[in-house]
């Protein structure tokens, strides 16, 4: 009896492992930058190109960096919710406009509205490489000391906001 039960048990274990594997999203990679200092950058602002924005400017605040582009379709999904998140006042939201022509980016914002406090222009995607961006939209939560504490790949839909981002932001603000 045991002779037949052991292979069966092994097979079931294999099935469980494969089933878990199927539920995971292979496009979501573990970020290497969690709990590492947010890479520094100084980039021109989209709406005021003569002014710059730097991660350093945000020292002492918990803030959210959202990587977006007008060519990015999934960005359109999260865009309407960005207004709600910004309005909630939970965390200041800044944009990183990724490999976008400024005229396209400005057109997108005037068409759909601008939820960002400001957007920095990463024209050649060099800053995005430093942040390990591999597909927009991506969202980072950076703490008061300038450490990356959370990264989300893909649109920040309300469930992600409620379950992932808001609890993290609240905890970081208490610290």
């Amino acid at each position: 009896m045991l002779k037949y039960l052991i292979p069966l048990a092994l097979f079931l274990v294999l099935v469980v492992f494969l089933a878990i594997g199927l539920t995971r999203n292979p496009n979501e990679l573990p970020s290497a930058l969690i709990d590492k200092p947010a890479p520094t950058f100084r980039l021109p602002q989209l709406k005021q190109p003569d002014k710059t924005f730097s991660a350093e400017d945000m020292r002492g605040k918990v803030w959210m960096l959202n990587v977006w582009a007008s060519w990015c379709v999934a960005c359109r999904d999260e865009h309407p919710f960005m207004f709600e998140y910004q309005k909630s006042g939970a965390v200041p939201i800044y944009g990183l406009n990724y490999k976008d022509r400024p005229e396209d980016a400005l057109g997108w914002l005037s068409e759909l509205g601008d939820p960002y406090l400001l957007s920095a222009v990463d024209l050649d995607g060099r800053v995005a490489i430093d942040y390990g961006v591999y597909g927009a939209p991506e969202t980072y939560i950076i703490d008061k000391k300038g450490t990356i504490r959370l990264k989300h790949v893909g649109p920040v839909m309300p469930d992600v906001w409620e379950k992932k981002i808001l609890p993290m932001v609240q905890e970081l603000n208490r610290q």
Binding site: P30, A32, L33, W71, C72, D124, G125, Y134, G135
Partner: protein, 160 residues
């Protein structure tokens, strides 16, 4: 397939058609053949993060082109292959390496197959030994020998 997955697939297809609007930065091969050679070698070891089953060398994606450009620039600045790999793994993690490093996290990956092989050999060995133990040599008794000879003799008679 659930609806959300279908939607994601559809979005992905759309994404591909929209990608044209992305800012294209010209990919300029370096005039230094040594750098191009080193890049060709190194980029075969690295994974494209957008199309995960392709190497950085084969991928036509924009991110891969950006990363190749970055690698060229770093090589030109005199960085070693090790330094460039360190730069990339700091940002994208071990996942970018096609040959993951041997760390406690990847022990199972590297040594798992050998453990399975050893386990299989052990089971095979024990099985053979068990079978061998079941077969015990029994020498013929005088009576057996007499019967056997009788049978042989009778069969010889029949064929004759």
């Amino acid at each position: 397939m659930t609806r959300s997955r279908l939607l994601a697939l559809l979005l992905l297809c759309l994404l591909a058609s929209f990608a044209r609007a992305q800012v294209q930065t010209e990919e300029q091969p370096s005039d230094d053949p040594v750098i191009e050679q080193r890049l060709a070698k190194l980029s075969h070891e690295l994974r494209c993060l957008q199309c995960q089953n392709q190497t950085l060398a084969d991928s036509p994606s924009d991110l891969a082109a950006d990363l190749r450009r970055e690698i060229r620039a770093q090589m030109k600045a005199g960085k070693s292959d090790q330094e460039i790999i360190a730069f990339l793994t700091q940002r994208y993690g071990q996942f970018i390496l096609y040959r993951p490093r041997v760390t406690p996290l990847t022990y199972l990956l590297w040594f798992g197959p050998f453990v399975l092989l050893l386990g299989g050999l052990l089971i095979l060995f024990r099985y053979i030994k068990q079978r061998r133990d079941q077969i015990t040599e029994q020498p013929l008794t005088a009576e057996d020998r007499r019967r056997a000879e009788e049978m042989l003799a009778s069969s010889r008679k029949e064929t004759a």
